[in-house]
Structures are given as C-alpha cells and as structure tokens.
C-alpha cells in the first residue's frame, strides 16, 4: 500500500512538474496532440483533437491557445498552461493558419483548401468578412498598425494584402515559387517571404508588394520564428533539412543548424536556450541547443507533427501577444509552418 501511495505521489509530482515545463505538439495526420516534458524529453500524453490540426496560436491575453482543426471546421481552445481542453468554437470554415492582429482586435484564418481568407472580430469570433482568392492561401502576418494582413498563396506563387477594416483586397502580386511563411520586420517597412519552391526568402515592400531583395538560405525555405532579440529569426528549410539563423538587419545568414526530416514549425524556450522544431517526416520533435547549434534530442510524437507550442509555466510569466516587431518575444510566430 505504501508503495502504491509513493508511486501515486511520484506520478502526481511528475505530472505537475511536467505541466509547468511542457510542450504541446499537433499531430496533424493523427487528429491528436502530444504533451511533452521539456526536461524529461518524453511524451507525457497524447490526446484526441478535431481532425487535421495544423496550426495554433495563443490568445492575446496569453491564457489560452487556439488550435485550428482544419477538417472539422472548428477551433479547439486549450489552456495555455496545462494544454487541457476548454471549449470548441464551431463553424470556422477550413481554418488552416490563424493569427491575431497586433492590437488584438482582428482574428484571421486562411482556408488553405477552400481558397478564402476570413476576417473576424476577435471578440466572440464574429465574421466581419470573407474574401475568396485563388491559389491556396497558406500563411499570414500583420502590419504594426493592425491595418493590413498579408497572405501568401502557395499554388499561384503570389502574395496578397487585405485591408482589415474594410475586408478588401489591396494588392495581389507574383512573388516566387510556392511562398509560405510571411514575416513583417520590426521596421514595419519590409516583409520577408519564404519561398518553399526555391531556396531562400525575398524582401517585399508592404506598400505595393514590389521585391527589393533576395537571400539564399536553403532549399524549401518555409517558416519563420523569432529568436527574441528583434533582429534574428530562425527559418526552416524543409527540403534542405536545415534551420537558418537570419540576421534581418544586415539580411544575411549567420548560422545554419542541420535538422533532418522536413523541419517545419518552431518554438523557443522561455530561457532562450533551446529551439524546438517539428520534424514532419520523422514523427519527432527536435530539440536544438542554441549554444552548440545542433540537435541534442529528438522526441517521438504522432504522425506528421506540425504546430509546436511551449506551454506557459507560472514562472515564465504571461505570454506577450504576437508582435510583428518580433519583440523581446514570447510571441508565437504567425507563420508556423505549412504543408
């Protein structure tokens, strides 16, 4: 009996510790999400969630994390500290990628397979407008004033800008082969767009979509994640099997980390020591030591892991909302991965 009590206590402590130091991963082809222990480097649990869950984002107050369940037309709202399910928001059609505007007023989803962009009032997820646009809308970012959302169109190779207040198209221009992750830089004057069908990113003027530069990073450039210093961003290169560290001020690659298995979405630990990267093809999540710049662990999860998110321990403080400036970030990239 004593042994049983001891085991129960140990388990409770382990779970409690894990929840204070855990990572959430969406298994997009298993309709489930995994909760991992950061310190233990193991999967603690795997829970059912919708169908084809690809991307996630924390709410502006940082208390909840929203998972887009693409094929069930719904959002699953989880507790941002524990990963436990709180509620379901239904009738959000084909929500693939999602994001809040910096002022928290607008909530946007892109319907990757149904070719439309939905702009909601974030208060109550009330649909303000739906704009149909061809070409597989996939990723988004916002300007600092929360006036415009920029959406990449993977199949047509274009980038489109939409006015949030009027829900109208501002411009739609060719940008390159299979654009995916989009990032507004801290100066609010340059956009970076990752070209998955090519080997790098292009620099784009947010006013009219004109291209002013290009940076080679690796084949299958896909997705951004802020390092947190407002200057450096990580960029996954899916075909190359690497993560580039991009200095956005000088526009150059200052480091490359080998991450096999089609690296996609990323998140950084609160202490800035580790980058966690989903390895879509290997059914694992890689842990990158940012001092050594190499993978130090690879943790098995479910099939085709996509979105990844550091659950917030009480000690880590509240989550800052997404900042296009990439702030002293605990922000979630608005561009975590795509297909």
């Amino acid at each position: 009996m004593k042994k049983l009590a001891l085991a129960a206590t140990t388990f409770a402590l382990a779970v409690g510790t894990a929840h204070a130091d855990s990572v959430l991963v969406l298994n997009s082809e298993e309709a489930s999400y995994s909760i991992l222990s950061r310190a233990g480097r193991i999967e603690l649990s795997r829970l059912p969630v919708g169908r084809e869950p690809h991307h996630l984002i924390p709410t502006p107050d940082g208390k909840e994390v929203i998972v887009a369940s693409t094929a069930t037309n719904e959002l699953l709202v989880l507790d941002a500290k524990t990963g436990e399910k709180r509620r379901v928001v239904r009738d959000i059609i084909d929500p693939y990628h999602l994001g809040f505007s910096p002022n928290g007023k607008w909530f946007v989803t892109v319907a990757y397979r149904l070719d439309h962009v939905d702009i909601f009032h974030s208060d109550g997820f009330r649909l303000a407008g739906r704009i149909f646009i061809d070409g597989l809308p996939s990723h988004m970012t916002f300007d600092a004033e929360s006036q415009t959302v920029f959406v990449s169109l993977q199949q047509s190779g274009r980038l489109a800008a939409f006015d949030l207040a009027t829900q109208t198209l501002k411009w739609n221009v060719p940008i390159g082969n299979t654009p995916a992750g989009v990032l507004m830089l801290p100066d609010n004057k340059r956009l970076l767009v990752a070209l998955t069908g090519e080997d790098g990113v292009v620099v784009v003027d947010p006013k009219d979509g004109s291209i002013s530069g290009k940076l080679q990073t690796g084949k299958g450039a896909h997705n951004f994640w802020p390092k947190g210093d407002g200057r450096h961003w990580f960029l996954s290169n899916r075909v190359e099997g690497t993560v580039s560290i991009v200095d956005t001020q000088d526009l150059k690659v200052v480091g490359t980390i080998k991450v096999p298995g089609g690296p996609d979405c990323m998140d950084i630990t609160a202490d800035g020591k580790e980058l966690w990267v989903t390895q879509r093809f290997l059914r694992r999540v890689a842990v990158v030591d940012l001092e050594q710049l190499k993978v130090v662990a690879s943790i098995p999860v479910g099939k085709s892991p996509h979105g990844v998110f550091m659950l917030k321990s009480a000690a880590a403080g509240p989550v800052a909302p997404i900042s296009p400036a990439g702030g002293p970030v605990r922000a979630v990239s608005t561009a975590p991965g795509s297909r």
Binding site: E29, E74, L114, G262, R280, F281, P300, K303, R339
Partner: protein, 331 residues
C-alpha cells in the same frame, strides 16, 4: 515497437529525401510535397505486402495445398496484377483520375459548413483507446466494402467487370488483386468517399488498407487450413471465401452469392448470406465467355473485359444477339 517505427519512418524519410522530394522540388511541384511523402509510404506498404505474400503465405500454400493439381500457368497473370497494385502503379493512375472528383465533393461539403464528424465526438471513450478506435473504423470500412461487393454482383454492368476476378479457376494468394482497372477505380472512389464521410484519418486509412488487403490475399490462398469454428466466424479465411468463388452448378446456381465479406464474416451472418458447410468446390465461372479470361495476359484481359462492360451498358435493343457474360451466371 518504437525501434520498428523508427526503422519504418527512417526508410520512408530516406527514400523521400533522396528521390521523391528533390524531384518534386526540381519540377516546381512543392504543393505535392506532403502527398508525395504519403505516396512513398503507400509503395513501402505494398512492398511489405508482396514480401508477406511471396514468402509467408506461399510457404503455407506449398506446405498444405488444397488443390494439388491444376494449371499453374493461369496464376502468372495474377502476379502481374499484384505487382501493379501493391507497388502503387495502378493506384497512382486511379488517384489521378479520382482526385478531382473526391476533392470537389469533400471541399463542396466543407464550403457549405458540413464537416464529417469524427466518431469520437459521439463516442468520446474511443478517443482514449487507439486500438478500439482503429477497430471501429476498420469494421465500418468493411461494412461499406461488403455492400459494395454485393453491388458488384447485383448490377449486370458491374458484374461484367467483376467477373474477371471470379474467372480464375486456380485460386492462390495472388488472386485478390485480379480486377479490372475500372472496377478498382469505382471501388476506390466509393471507399475513399465513405472514409471521408465517417472521418477515417489518413494514418488509420493506411493501416486499414494494409491489414485488410493482407487478410484478403490470405482468403484467396490455396490452403487446406482453417481458423477453427469460432475463428472462421470472426475473420474471413480461405475456406469461407473459396465458397464465394465456387463454380455454380445445376444444384447450386446461386452459390457465389454468398460469403461476400472482405474481412469480417459478421456481415454475411447478419444479412443471411453466410454458408459454412465445409465442402470443397471447384472455382471459376460457368460462362464460357468469362472463363475465356483464363490464359490471357493482363492487357488482353483488360481490353476484353472492358468490351463486356460496354456491352452491358448498351441499351438492350441495341445489343448484338450474343449476350454471354453480362449477368451473373446464376441469374
């Protein structure tokens, strides 16, 4: 289990990153990057199935054959069917043809706000049990396959296609894939749509296909073996399915209208089409036009059976007087 998964996924990843991924990147088709990765798994599953059939199942056929006499040359074309199917060549062609339609239907439903519910929403306990969830979806999938199989026998135009599968006089583990490509296309289309409606996940679909098709290959085996009295009522085995391929006789004109189930005999038991009499019967079709499929190669079979199919679709008053092979011989 983890080591096995790592070996499997590692192989899939290596094949993809070495061959398929660079090809898709090179030809500018990165929108197909994820489906390309799934296709590699499909081919790997097929290769494993071929190994299991060629090494495992064939061992039992050699060791405990049911029919010792017979023309083994009739079997060679069935091996061609198996290779074309299991290695993904025919499924790829079928995918290309059916993809626009299945996408149109699925996306049309979703754009109207209809999302097929996962069963877990109705039965939450299923979500906590991976094995139970898989079995429930497997049973549902097999239920659909049972009724599709009955339809293959019920409609003259569909029988014109499906009769190719039944024409084999020499049943072996290779016989399961012996189907006309149009028949394969129709069945695939129906089952994919059904899987979408009930919410089968892509990962589950792969496992269901892998396990299901292996059981179906085994059910065509030329072996004198049984799962036992209880086992034969749980899983379809060679004795049960051989009756479905039985040659009709004057006494048993409708014998092949029984034992339809692909994997779970429960459907035949429930719907009154099960026969467990233990008799060993010769196999094939008692129609000379259909029986002539034996001895033909893959291309000739495909062409002649397509001709039967077209004739079956032709209005009765426009048909030539010769009508053989248009209906199940028992009718």
């Amino acid at each position: 289990m983890r080591e096995l998964t790592d070996l499997w996924v590692g192989t899939q990843n290596w094949l993809f990153e070495t061959f398929v991924g660079p090809l898709l990147f090179g030809i500018g088709q990165m929108a197909w990057y994820e489906p390309g990765y799934s296709a590699v798994e499909f081919v790997m599953v097929g290769a494993v199935q071929i190994l299991v059939i060629a090494i495992g199942m064939r061992f039992f056929e050699r060791r405990w054959p049911l029919e010792r006499a017979g023309d083994d040359r009739l079997v060679s074309v069935d091996r061609v069917y198996t290779l074309l199917n299991k290695l993904g060549i025919l499924p790829l062609a079928i995918f290309i043809v059916t993809y626009p339609l299945t996408q149109e239907i699925e996306l049309g439903m979703r754009s109207w706000g209809y999302a097929p519910p996962r069963l877990e929403r109705l039965l939450p306990w299923l979500g906590d049990n991976v094995l139970a969830s898989f079995l429930v979806y497997f049973v549902l999938y097999d239920f659909a396959a049972y009724w599709l199989h009955r339809a293959q026998h019920a409609f003259p135009w569909w029988w014109a296609l499906h009769s190719l599968h039944h024409s084999q006089r020499r049943m072996t583990v290779w016989a399961d894939d012996r189907n006309h490509v149009v028949d394969d296309l129709l069945i695939t289309l129906a089952l994919v749509l059904f899987a979408q409606v009930v919410g089968v996940q892509p990962g589950e679909y792969v496992v269901i296909l892998t396990v299901g098709r292996l059981i179906e290959s085994w059910s065509h085996a030329n072996v004198d073996m049984s799962f036992g009295r209880v086992g034969e009522r749980l899983i379809v085995g060679p004795r049960f399915h051989r009756l479905h391929h039985a040659l009709a006789s004057a006494e048993e004109r409708h014998i092949h209208d029984h034992n339809y189930a692909p994997v779970f005999p429960i459907w035949d038991i429930l719907f009154g089409t099960a026969i467990y009499d233990g008799k060993i019967r010769p196999t094939g079709v008692d129609d000379p036009v259909i029986d002539a499929d034996n001895g033909r190669g893959w291309i000739v079979q495909q062409v002649t059976v397509f001709g039967r199919f077209v004739r079956a679709l032709t209005p009765r008053f426009m048909r030539a007087p010769f009508q053989s092979g248009l209906r199940p011989p028992a009718e």
